[in-house]
Symmetry: C2
Subunit: 424 residues, 2 copies
């Protein structure tokens, strides 16, 4: 096990950017670097996932497909699910694809009591050639392992899990609609399954993957949303777990979302610290495009990965594409802290170009206004506009990769021939 005090890049970055800030300087002085990468995985040294041991039990009662326009996110599931059990004696056991159905768990199981649970969100797309693609699945596997390690659940070989997910997707491929914007949402989930109430590292776990066909987030084109800045609750903090995709980070976010909704806002915006740094929006990362006050240059800004921000795959994709494709057009692309007051100032000075959320569900989600301290900050869209230029381009670029128009290295095309064992 390496030293706990090894200073990570993210932490160093956070420090250097906050050195003129008394509160966060205080926070950082005492916040030693805490990266779970320093910890051994509990599954190290135990047998890993053996893809060759996969068994498939096909569903004898295949579901009827819903008309694509009736699909609701995460409500309808395919015929099968993937299950890979683990325990501390035997490591990962043989993977199984079985008919979709309930989990039967003792009421003392630790997932019900202590939130031993983490997950991923990813999608399978039907490309223009009829093939099936995933989008940067190794990023999801890396994050899943970072999440599970942080809560003493086992880690797994990402390539093996991707292969198994591929088999599930191929088996249930009839559920992926052909239409552009549609996809098969995949939910890899890991839960602790030990059935005792002692608060300790689970001796057993289950990795399962379920799949839900979904339509476009904006079926009739973009619809810009309005946000309420939340200044009375905190989602994440230095030394906490806000950068991991743990179940624990989600339930506490609902009440602030309901509060925002009760006042007519679609999402809440999480601020941090007395400086009210802009962090995340609801369940998405946030991007702000503005004309920089000092340089006059266009700048696309998102919060840095300081341990309090979810490390979004779409966030990373937007940043990379922006550096690659907006950079040559004179844009600066920054991962840096930005105060809500700076956003409001840019708006009042006509320098705020556009604001959008970024996540797997919507790719990008344009923002019209942010309610903050009794004012409505106008995020730069014209009255008849539902999305800014950067959001539009990003959606097209990322969709182009997802659906195969752009043969980008991020593609992951499922190996053909598709499995023939299931009579569809």
């Amino acid at each position: 096990m390496r030293s706990l005090r090894h200073l990570s890049r993210a932490s160093a970055q956070f420090s250097s950017r906050t050195q003129n800030n008394s509160f966060l300087r205080g926070a950082m002085r005492w916040q030693k670097d805490y990266s779970t990468k320093q910890f051994a995985s509990r599954s190290d040294g135990l047998p890993g996932i053996d893809v060759s041991k996969l068994s498939i039990t096909t569903n004898k009662n295949p579901k009827q497909l819903l008309p694509p326009n009736e699909l609701v996110f995460g409500k309808n599931f395919t015929d099968h699910m993937l299950m890979v059990p683990w325990n501390i004696e035997d490591g990962w056991l043989a993977p199984e694809i079985v008919p979709y159905g309930p989990l039967s768990l003792d009421p003392s199981t630790c997932v019900f009591h202590y939130a031993f649970e983490c997950f991923e969100g990813m999608k399978a797309y039907r490309d223009k050639d009829g093939g099936i693609r995933l989008f940067r699945p190794s990023k999801n596997m890396e994050r899943l392992n970072n999440s599970s390690r942080r809560i003493a659940l086992p880690t797994a070989d990402g390539d093996a899990v991707i292969k198994l997910i591929g088999e599930l997707v191929k088996l249930d491929k009839r559920f992926i609609p052909n239409e552009r914007g549609y996809s098969l949402y995949l939910r890899p989930t890991m839960i602790g399954t030990q059935a005792t109430l002692g608060v300790s590292a689970p001796g057993s776990a289950l990795l399962f993957v379920i799949a839900s066909p979904v339509g476009p987030y904006y079926p009739t084109g973009f619809k810009a949303i309005s946000l309420e800045a939340t200044d009375y609750a905190v989602r994440a903090w230095p030394g906490g777990v806000g950068d991991k995709k743990l179940g624990a980070n989600y339930a506490p976010c609902i009440v602030p979302q309901l509060e925002a909704a009760s006042r007519g806002f679609q999402q809440n915006l999480w601020l941090f610290g007395e400086e009210e740094y802009v962090t995340e929006v609801g369940t998405m990362n946030l991007f702000i495009a503005l004309k920089n006050k000092e340089t006059g240059q266009n700048e696309l800004i998102t919060a840095p990965l300081d341990g309090t921000i979810l490390e979004g795959v779409t966030r990373d994709s937007v940043l990379t594409l922006a550096r690659e494709r907006l950079g040559p057009r004179g844009w600066t692309v920054s991962e840096r802290k930005l105060k809500m007051a700076e956003v409001a100032e840019a708006a009042s000075e006509g320098r705020l170009i556009e604001v959008f959320g970024a996540g797997t569900a919507a790719i990008v989600s344009p923002v019209r206004t942010i309610s903050w301290k009794g004012q409505l900050v106008d995020c730069g869209l014209k009255k008849d506009e539902e999305a800014g230029q950067v959001a539009l381009e990003m959606k097209n670029w990322i969709e182009g990769i997802q659906y195969g128009d752009d043969n980008h290295p991020w593609r992951y095309v499922l190996a053909l021939p598709l499995v023939g064992i299931y009579p569809y």
Copy 2:
């Protein structure tokens, strides 16, 4: 819905105690008061729990009782469990006591993904007259409602739940060993049961209670533990949910506990802020008895309820009994912030009297040493001592109430005659 800005007592207390402290003054400036008591419960206006609708299905395969010395905390359960389902249309449905057995839940159920879960820990005791007692159960019910409200789960009438728990306990009373120090651990748990992946307030939930016979935490008398101060991870934050008994607060604590254990410490001690305030220990509150540097008086200190501390029932009991019974002997009893450096200083100056954790499992858990910044802080026990005077007295006082020697107002004696419907 009342104003969000209403200043709570706890928050005011926190402010006044930290006014000379730059870091926390900063933290408090931006931390608006955030008390879930300001929010309406999602179950308001819907039918509440109707105890008269309780149905009981007895277990046809009663378990064999384990010898008391083979009982392991939270591993063996009684014959029955209590289940009370809820949904947003019908409110609380008819309560059921059914044979203990697995829960069957769709893999998309929100408890697996977003940690919609909270719980309580309480115990039933067989008193010296053969009756069965609970200990301050209304405190647990109050906290359960505060927890569930914070994560958009329903609240319930505490008296109704206590009555139902009483019926479960009476039905399974044969599992409560007669011996002093033994009890029936009760685990009321609430989980979100909606089976969709959208991140939103659950439309359905389940309150269940399971029961596990347990032996004394220290079967052969106290055994003082050693702690490792954790300065590389943070359990809770102002504006967060660290004062609620949510599953979300537990899984992230395991890795620091494993770390402490790997270096030979039984528990970790959570510090907060650059001042390294002493907060909680593992899954217990912490009490420090010292001779006050300024007054020379004996002082029993625990961290104040500032939103970052679990509001322990045992914590409250220790405070109340200390004020009532140690006060007249010249002790000051304080809920105030205390730096780890002050603890170390008191130890080095011979002013540290004793340190102990407080929780439902052990009542009190004496501490011998705390590892902090490369030094071992000696917590005042003599070499051949396993507990200090205050811890010993507290254990005796609280056990006296729990087992009925002391007919204290905190007793809750289950109504007799005990139910006769089950043939034991």
